[in-house]
């Protein structure tokens, strides 16, 4: 008994010393600590098209063209990156970039047209020594027709396309898988080693990456653009939203991304924190198979849309962390039109009457496959349970099937059963979502139109958009296509996410981007 008591005393003693040490320590400035939602599996920025990977690596790299993620505007404008200007040939198949002079990668390798060519060869030329199938598939999967690249002179570089693509600059600016590695790093670390060494031209240099634990970056004092004010920035991946919020509340991190729905109000009320609800181009949507079955009838789709109470969903169920969906594009998207009304007026009685005119007067059953881990707009299951209750009132029974990311991906890409739907936070930092999800020529399983939505007028507008003379015209044609899809009840958009982000009040000069990508590197720390 005496030994046991001694043992417990020692244990408690150690705990007390440790706790006292923790309390006695003082806070120092200069290092910005950010709680992110996930880590990157490796450091090769060209391989992925996922925001968690891109976010982790964004401070270290630059693209030829970029978006200004710090701009406080309706959407983030395209700005010059490593290219100072660009032009497109008359046939729309050649893009010429004038490159920035005097830029060096973090390892001292000079940036020039050869360096850009090396990177794009890695994505497009299967015979290239450093060709990577994953990087290649990612690059050409989004940019239809990307064929190759050419060095014109030391600071002039060309991209070649097999078909015109007016959205090329928009996509390259929004998706960091087109950002550039140092060719010197490839030669030093080899084809596989590049995934463990991030050597770019970005405003921060990599100091240390410990998988799943931390990414430590220090300011690049030779950076060609605006220099960060903090000396160091640390990304700390915390998967669980409640734990992320706790780390912010305990003052262990300066910024926490994606706060949980149920904690936003209490953190907002605490004077130690600032909470931002700026929006993300992500529209929570249910997408159902339309090639056959109940959803092939536009009246059924309209009735379902009319039965959903989007206002209550956004304001009560999701506690103001989202707004009712008005369209397919999300907040922060260049094509988002804030003048549009709520997607379909909430009218359960009207919905019942409309349904009575179809083959399903007494309703029908269907199911959704959902993977909440895939959806950054918080409160996914709360939202679907609410919609389930809404639809029950018009006799439509919706079954919710939660699956992991792998099952969701497999379901998304195949042809589906008549009563099968998937849920999605549709959108990205580029306006490509309509091409990806609503183009009739891309019907699943042979394309990205997972619900097999078909409208010849929409297809014609999108085809015209590919050969548009400017990005503005490209966007205008997409807006027209969106209008047709809305009139057609082409899917079931629920809410536009506002993406709650939190920061300690001592974090100044930072606003979250209205985007999936975030760059807090220009924040300042006031002690």
């Amino acid at each position: 008994m005496r030994y046991l008591a001694m043992g417990l005393t020692v244990l408690l003693g150690v705990a007390a010393i440790v706790a006292t040490t923790a309390i006695a320590q003082t806070r120092t400035g200069g290092t910005l600590v950010v709680a992110t939602t996930n880590d990157t599996p490796d450091l090769d920025i060209q391989k992925y098209i996922s925001s968690s990977q891109h976010n982790a690596l964004l401070p270290l790299f630059n693209g030829l063209v970029e978006k200004d993620w710090t701009a406080d505007e309706a959407f983030h404008p395209i700005v010059p990156g490593l290219a100072t200007s660009w032009s497109v040939s008359k046939d729309g198949k050649t893009y010429t970039f004038k490159l920035r002079k005097g830029v060096e990668f973090h390892d001292g390798t000079p940036f020039n047209a050869e360096a850009a060519h090396f990177n794009f060869q890695r994505m497009t030329n299967k015979k290239h020594e450093y060709y990577d199938p994953q990087a290649g598939n990612t690059a050409t999967g989004v940019l239809k027709g990307l064929k190759g690249s050419k060095v014109v002179d030391k600071y002039t570089f060309q991209l070649e396309l097999s078909q015109p693509n007016a959205g090329l600059i928009e996509a390259m600016a929004s998706l960091p898988n087109y950002y550039l590695h140092s060719p010197g790093a490839f030669k030093k670390y080899g084809k596989d080693g590049i995934g463990q060494h991030a050597v770019g031209t970005g405003p921060f240099k990599l100091v240390e990456w410990v998988r799943g634990q931390r990414t430590v970056m220090e300011r690049n004092d030779k950076y060609w653009g605006k220099k960060p004010s903090v000396e160091r920035m640390v990304y700390r991946p915390i998967i669980e939203p409640a734990a992320r919020a706790a780390a912010l509340r305990a003052g262990e991190v300066h910024i926490a991304w994606d706060l949980p729905v149920d904690q936003v109000e209490s953190i907002k009320k605490d004077p130690r924190f600032n909470v931002y609800l700026r929006g993300i181009p992500a529209t929570k949507v249910i997408e159902c198979w339309q090639a056959s079955g109940p959803f092939s009838d536009v009246r059924v789709r309209k009735a379902v849309n009319m039965a959903i109470d989007r206002k209550t969903l956004a304001e009560v169920i999701l506690k103001g962390t989202a707004i009712p969906a008005t369209q397919l594009y999300g907040i922060g998207s260049a094509s988002y039109d804030k003048t549009l009304p709520i997607f379909e007026k909430f009218d359960p009685e009207g919905a019942k009457k409309l349904l009575a005119q179809t083959k399903y007067p007494d309703g029908f059953n269907f199911f959704i496959i959902t993977s909440p881990e895939n959806e950054p707009v918080a409160g996914a299951l709360l939202a679907y349970e609410f919609v389930q209750a809404n639809l029950r009132k018009i006799g439509v029974k919706m079954d919710i099937r939660v699956r992991d990311n792998a099952v969701f991906g497999e379901t998304y890409m195949r042809a589906k059963a008549d009563d099968e739907c998937v849920t999605f936070d549709r959108g990205y930092d580029t306006d490509f979502i309509l091409d990806m999800g609503y183009y009739g020529g891309q019907c699943a399983p042979n394309g990205l139109n997972n619900q097999c939505y078909k409208n010849a007028k929409v297809d014609a507008l999108m085809e015209k958009a590919y050969t548009a003379s400017s990005i503005e015209q490209w966007r205008d044609l997409h807006r027209q296509a969106q209008k047709l899809i809305i009139d057609d009840s082409g899917s079931f958009p629920l809410v536009h996410g506002l993406r709650p982000m939190g920061a300690l009040v001592e974090v100044k000069n930072w606003l979250p981007a209205k985007a999936w990508l975030q760059f807090p590197g220009y924040a300042r720390l006031d002690k």
Partner: protein
Amino acid sequence: MVAFLIRRILFLVPVLLGGSAIVFTLIQLAPGDPIDVLLGVYSSPESRQALREAYGLNDPPYVQYFRWLGHILQGDWGISIQQRVPVLTLVMEKFWITLLLTGAAGSFAIIVGVGAGIVSAVKHNTWIDRVILVVSVFALSMPSYWLGLLFIFVFSVQLGWLPTGGIRSFIEPKSTLDVIEHMIMPGIVAGLTPAAIIARVARAAMLEVMRLDFLTALRAKGLSEGAVILRHALRNAMPSIVNMTGLQIGYLILGGALFVEIIFSWPGLGLEIYKSVVGRDMPMMLGLVLFSTFVFVILNLLVDICYRIMNPRIQSE
């Protein structure tokens, strides 16, 4: 003893083979594809097909399994599909981190579990015994996920005593006790369930021993109660306690601390198992299963050796 050891080590081979074959089959039967996860839903069918080909995932399952097995026999554990890093490097990197957590949780479980079990047996049918029983039922029935969040709220957010998670701090200057500070809460939360199980086993084993006549004889000879309990009763109850402790620590390493690792952002094997399952990362999952089975069998072997040392009757059989 040598023959016993050789027999047990040879026994490892079918266990490892069987374990890997079962896991391989289960992964094959499960829906979902690593390439879909890797490329995301915006990839084209041609892109996915090309990458599947490049990673050898189009081959028939038995070809994939035997190719993996052939490589394992040559010491090559393969490359993680998701992370493009050798599986063995990743597993070892994570193993030491999990071992830290398991060490903290195991120490807590042994000290508290055995201590509570002894006290409960000695104070049998008193209020102390009942309190310990109630607390152990509470510890057994509370999900570690919930307990973890509760601990974070109380000890980190409200009291500010301990860090919320991770393995080290970034805002505060580094201290030598930094890692220990980060280990305390996850260690206690992960150790609570094993502690409760060990406490119940220890209590039952002690009660059984304490009914035996030789303890009365020792007391009659004038030995102090402490010496009777700790030197004689506990020693006789130890085989059952060691057996259960070994199993519990094996369980912790095998992913029992999974939820604790997620809640406390502890970057160990549990978190890696979760990520590889979600990403359908076959080489990583097989590597993790092979490694965990190996560790579990070795732990059991150590427990059996301890058991034989502590219980001479088994040794003579």
